[in-house]
């Protein structure tokens, strides 16, 4: 039986999604719990995620799949996982899916959120949940510049070294920013067919600098032309980044898959 799991996690105390020896990761916690539920079968059950998140990055709705050697109702699977998972992970939804479904290969898009605290001082309650930007910022300028992100572009100036992607072309469907006055935060949101390593954190770094006037409002076009990672400079902290939604083929008829499977 193949299970599709939608889960939230507070990334603060994880060394990211991907399994690493001697490190607490999302993948290793899930692998441990699922194999324990199945009484440690040999070979062990493998967890497939929609993609990695870095250390400190949060998920409001990450998606993984795995195969169980026996049948449980979706509801009992959710209850079982939640009773055994640590408190900083929570399974939100369990679906029984066909053997064709693959949490990574079938992704058609992802949506990310970035929360940037604007407080004059660092806020001890927000340190793990936001980035911090203390310069006056013009949200309209940010949204004007963000329009240049929309569409298919070569994002070579917006990828961290260490990326193994074979192409840096990605398509962004939505990119914008709003001021959350109640929390004194900028909230950025990006929806695209896929994102490169650190791409969202680099885009937010460029956008806040545009918003504060240290870059011209058309600087994103210059960065496309430069094709040089160093030009974008700043990578904002992982703590403000949230994976908000993973789209699968058919989820959003307006934006069917455009990326070759290996590149998602």
């Amino acid at each position: 039986m193949r299970y599709k799991i939608t889960l939230a996690y507070d990334g603060t105390n994880f060394a990211g999604f991907q399994r690493q020896p001697h490190m607490r990761t999302i993948e290793s916690e899930l692998t441990r719990v699922v194999n324990k539920m199945a009484k440690n079968p040999d070979p062990a059950i493998v967890i497939y995620g929609s993609g990695r998140t870095d250390a400190g990055v949060h998920a409001l709705a990450q998606v993984v799949h795995f195969d169980m050697p026996f049948n449980l109702t979706a509801d009992n699977m959710r209850r079982g996982l939640n009773s055994m998972l640590p408190m900083d992970m929570e399974v939100l939804k369990v679906e029984i899916v066909s053997q064709d479904f693959h949490a990574r290969y079938d992704v058609s898009g992802k949506r990310y959120l970035y929360r940037m605290d604007l407080g004059e001082f660092r806020n001890p309650f927000k340190r793990n949940y936001t980035g911090h930007w203390k310069f006056p910022t013009d949200v309209e300028k940010i949204n004007q510049a963000a329009k240049d992100l929309i569409g298919e572009h070569d994002f070579s100036s917006f990828v961290a070294s260490g990326s193994s992607a074979r192409t840096h072309y990605r398509t962004i469907y939505e990119a914008g920013c709003r001021l959350d006055k109640a929390n004194n935060e900028l909230v950025f949101e990006f929806y695209g067919n896929g994102f490169l390593y650190n791409q969202v954190r680099i885009m937010v770094g460029v956008l806040v600098e545009i918003g504060s006037g240290t870059r011209p409002v058309d600087d994103i076009q210059r960065l496309y032309r430069l094709n040089d990672r160093r030009a974008a400079r700043r990578t904002v902290p992982a703590s403000g980044l949230y994976l908000k939604h993973v789209y699968y083929e058919g989820d959003d008829p307006k934006h069917p898959t455009k990326l070759p499977k290996r590149q998602r």
Copy 2:
């Protein structure tokens, strides 16, 4: 020079306010930093807090005082402390006060907040910042019952064992609850001349049970008559409790001190 310090802290990773050997506490972090700033004088500088908070309890505005053997402007003191304190503590305000001022003895009142998450499932982002109550709750019933808390009462049924207070009489000026729909939380607020050990967490436990119908709405009057700690049962988790404000003589002319100095 005597300094009055108002500070916020995320209590998650502290073993409470009070100094304890080999434990990370608010008092020990402050003591370390202040003595380092003063180049470790002998005798060491002592920190006086307005009162303790338990492990996991947060402060939006705790108050302490200490004496420095030299003079710094309030602004430089704030900057200096914040540059040396850990990220889960933040000095919000520094005031230079007379040698008469005492952070504990001069307290005239305290205000506490309690955040109770109402989500069906535990939320991994809220586990350290709220309590959790998953039963249907009537806020009007809670507010009706909370009126019985207002005034001077013997709170013996609302104090945890281990209290060393000489009297259990306290006066509550304000007690109430509102539904924060955006966050799906009950937010309780209490203002009084002083609170006993665990009193707020026990009062909230009684109030949510009243709100969910497992206690009658006039149960607080019965608890006053019983004078028995065991009758109140539940102590809600420390994670939802925030020290919101400490009042000193003169801060609130409507409510001057009523408690003998030793009992605050």
